[in-house]
């Protein structure tokens, strides 16, 4: 038997190979997780790097004269121009003057107008104010336009760079915190575009969504979990809810377009309709979470209530529902976070228009934060890319906050029976 291996020897001979395979298999698992996490990290980093700059905006300190003739003509941009000419008296040719005024944003005049409206005694006065620079200056300051590149290849000419440098040397050109980004509506000019309009649109839509989907979802869950007899009809409802949860969101948009807009003639682009569509979409999530919360309440609670003579409605409303409420709220917050990030159905019902005004009611035309991101991502200007990424950061901050609230709620009210 010396030339043939024994059974155990054969096993041992293969052992090293099998252990290597074992190690390899384990590494595949670690590798897969590492790849997924790397994707997440790269994505967040790429967005963070692109977006962080938008929280600052280049501003120029100008000595402006609130000239009464210009105020009468409502020609605020002329006031800005005059103070620029005064700042650079050597600039005389028509062409150069035009270039010079292009350093300032077209929104600078509006800013002066608002100052004057707030304080009419400014007429005839001279003041030094910080005014928004144009997006090209802003991009140059943030390094997105390369000074070393050929003049023909960049949007800022050598002359303009000389002026900008002299302003910087005077301490009259600085990057300041970009409040307008948080308080302004949409604009064609990137330096004037803000997310507040879209944010209000999202708030109105989410309010409608919550007011509809939370009561409906909770009531459906109570019926299915506590009262419904086990029959064909409740089976149909159950299967239906599970399938609705997996229907593509854009289909809900088509439903909203056909039913809410074309049949019920509700206004286009309104947060009211957006909220209704989002409510139908989040309903399955809330129902499923609420049912799980109800199921987690032990039967002994119900039995005790029944034993004391409570009716089944009293049992549920007075005892089961309060105990299940934290779980239901957690599910609802997660559903709302989904609704906040959703954009495809809103495109269908026209919440994708260019809207400058801040919406003030449920029926005003509006967009939503994710739709605003979609719109800006399409704009060719470099400065809009930065704002898109910044809007994404704001959206993600809201989503993280909502999910953290859900986690804290769950931790705080979690009960082991």
């Amino acid at each position: 038997m010396s030339d043939t291996l024994t059974h155990s020897e054969r096993i041992e001979a293969g052992l090293a190979k099998r252990y290597r395979a074992e190690k390899r298999f384990r590494l595949y698992g670690i590798g897969a997780i590492a790849v997924a996490m790397a994707f997440l990290a790269i994505m967040l980093a790429a967005i963070g790097i692109r977006g962080i700059g938008a929280f600052q905006q280049t501003e120029v300190a100008l000595t402006v004269v609130f000239d009464e003739t210009h105020i009468k003509d409502n020609n605020w941009q002329a006031i800005v121009k005059n103070s620029m000419y005064k700042k650079f008296p050597d600039v005389t040719s028509r062409q150069d003057k035009r270039l010079l005024t292009h350093l300032m944003s077209s929104g600078a005049g509006f800013y002066l107008q608002n100052l004057y409206r707030a304080d009419p005694s400014l007429a005839g006065e001279t003041r030094t104010v910080w005014l928004t620079a144009s997006d090209d200056v802003d991009m140059l300051m943030k390094g997105a336009i390369d000074r070393a590149s050929l003049q023909s290849e960049r949007r800022v000419s050598d002359k303009e760079i000389v002026w900008i440098d002299s302003l910087i040397a005077d301490g009259a050109l600085e990057l300041k915190f970009n409040t307008h980004f948080f308080t302004g509506g949409d604009s064609r000019e990137p330096e004037l575009a803000g997310i507040f309009g879209a944010f209000m649109g999202s708030i109105f839509s989410l309010a409608v969504c919550f007011l509809l989907s939370f009561p409906l979802g909770v009531m459906t869950a109570i019926y299915l979990e506590e009262f419904a007899p086990k029959n064909k009809w409740t089976d149909v409802i159950e299967v239906n809810i599970n399938n609705l949860a997996a229907v593509p969101s854009i289909v809900f948009g088509l439903l909203g377009l056909a039913v809410f807009l074309n049949f019920f003639m509700l206004p286009r682009s309104a947060p009211l309709v957006g909220g209704m569509v989002l409510a139908l979409m989040t309903l399955p999530t809330i129902i499923i979470a609420s049912r799980a919360a109800l199921r987690a309440v032990p039967p002994s609670i119900r039995e005790a209530a029944w034993g004391m003579g409570a009716s089944s409605v009293q049992t549920v409303l007075h005892h089961v529902l309060p105990l299940a409420m934290p779980g239901m709220l957690t599910g609802t917050i997660i559903g709302m976070a989904q609704a906040l990030g959703e954009s495809a159905p809103l495109l269908m019902i026209g919440m994708v228009a260019f809207i400058v005004d801040i919406p003030g009611s449920f029926t005003d035309p509006a967009t939503a934060l994710p739709v605003q991101i979609f719109l800006w991502a399409d704009s060719p200007e470099r400065a809009f890319t930065e704002r898109t990424a910044a809007a994404i950061i704001v959206l993600l901050v809201f989503l993280v906050t909502m999910n953290l609230i859900a986690v804290v709620l769950r931790k705080k009210f979690e009960r082991r029976w």
């Binding site: 698992g29 997924a36 459906t220 229907v247 089944s312 409605v313 269908m348």
Partner: protein, 312 residues
């Protein structure tokens, strides 16, 4: 006496409450009915103008209707095959990327990872599922697509700036958590006794997983993959932002293709009268999308349910 059995308000109030509960539970049903009815109704109007066979088997998609009615080709052409092909191509790329990553992540988390590692890694993977799709779309269009284009150029490949690969790749990342969490559930549902039996025969852990756990979990994993496929087919924002608009019948992932959802969005955004074949076509596409995903979901949920019952 005022309290008599006939006057007991409680009964009446509770009957009303129950009625309200039942009514609210029908909203979910009404939603489905509404979806099916509106899609069918508008689609039937569309098929009154464009024959069903032209739509299902036509190879050319160019819905732009001419300005004047008497112009040549004023009706546009509505052959949806390029859209179906584009949708399948992008979804296939997404699944090819997400399946191995999601599955191996699930295997590691379910079979190897220490509880503390699991408690950290699982929520981080779930973050991927919580990020809005418009963010993925931005990432695909403004980061991944230029990278792929640059990378392709450096090795002499001509990559379109709206390549199917960029959209598919990012979509794949998006569905990793879906596959990993569903697979994790089914792997955990495989009874421990089956593993113990395999260990008892001298198998290593990976051999046990490959030869015992995975075959036992396969139906559930397949169900999860079907759900992921349905999710990929119905995904809108990533493809709207990163895939092309023009129809292109190709299997080359480096070229631009368009998808069903992209066309629905382009046909319905912007102001136009509602009666043209162009807008109605969006509903026909929506109907196709709804039924495809519905069939995938029903089959997937059925498989997963069957599988769970098997081990309970």
């Amino acid at each position: 006496m005022y309290v008599t059995p006939a006057r007991r308000a409680q009964k009446a109030v509770e009957a009303v409450i129950k009625g309200i509960l039942i009514a609210s539970s029908t909203v979910a049903i009404l939603t489905t009915v509404g979806i099916v009815a509106s899609l069918l109704f508008e689609s039937l109007r569309f098929f009154g103008e464009v024959p069903l066979t032209d739509f299902l088997f036509g190879l050319e998609w160019s819905p732009q209707t001419a300005m004047r009615a008497d112009q040549v080709g004023s009706s546009g052409s509505f052959g949806a095959i390029p859209l179906f092909a584009g949708t399948l191509l992008i979804s296939a790329i997404a699944l090819i990327i997400a399946t191995p990553i999601g599955l191996f992540a699930a295997i590691y988390l379910a079979e190897y990872a220490h509880v503390s590692v699991r408690n950290w890694v699982k929520p981080i993977l779930e973050i991927l599922a919580g990020i809005p799709t418009v963010v993925y779309g931005f990432f695909a269009a403004l980061v991944v697509a230029p990278w792929l284009r640059g990378g392709g150029e450096s090795i002499g490949l001509d990559v379109s700036s709206e390549s199917a690969l960029a959209a598919g790749l990012v979509m794949g990342v998006m569905i990793i958590p879906l596959i990993s969490s569903l697979s994790d559930d089914v792997i955990n549902a495989v009874p421990q006794t089956m593993r113990d039996g395999s260990f008892g025969l001298g198998a290593t852990k990976s051999e046990t997983i490959r030869n015992v756990v995975l075959p036992a979990a396969l139906p559930g994993i397949m169900g999860g993959l079907l759900l992921a496929a349905s999710r990929a087919i119905g995904e809108t924002m990533i493809v709207v932002m990163a895939a092309g608009l023009a129809s292109n019948l190709t299997a080359n992932p480096l070229q631009a293709v368009t998808t069903v959802t992209v066309q629905i969005v382009t046909l319905l955004t912007g102001d136009q009268e509602f009666d043209s074949a162009k807008t109605l076509a969006a509903f026909a596409l929506g109907l196709m999308l709804f039924f495809t995903t519905l069939v995938l979901n029903v089959v997937a949920l059925h498989i997963v349910k069957k599988y769970r019952e098997q081990y309970e």
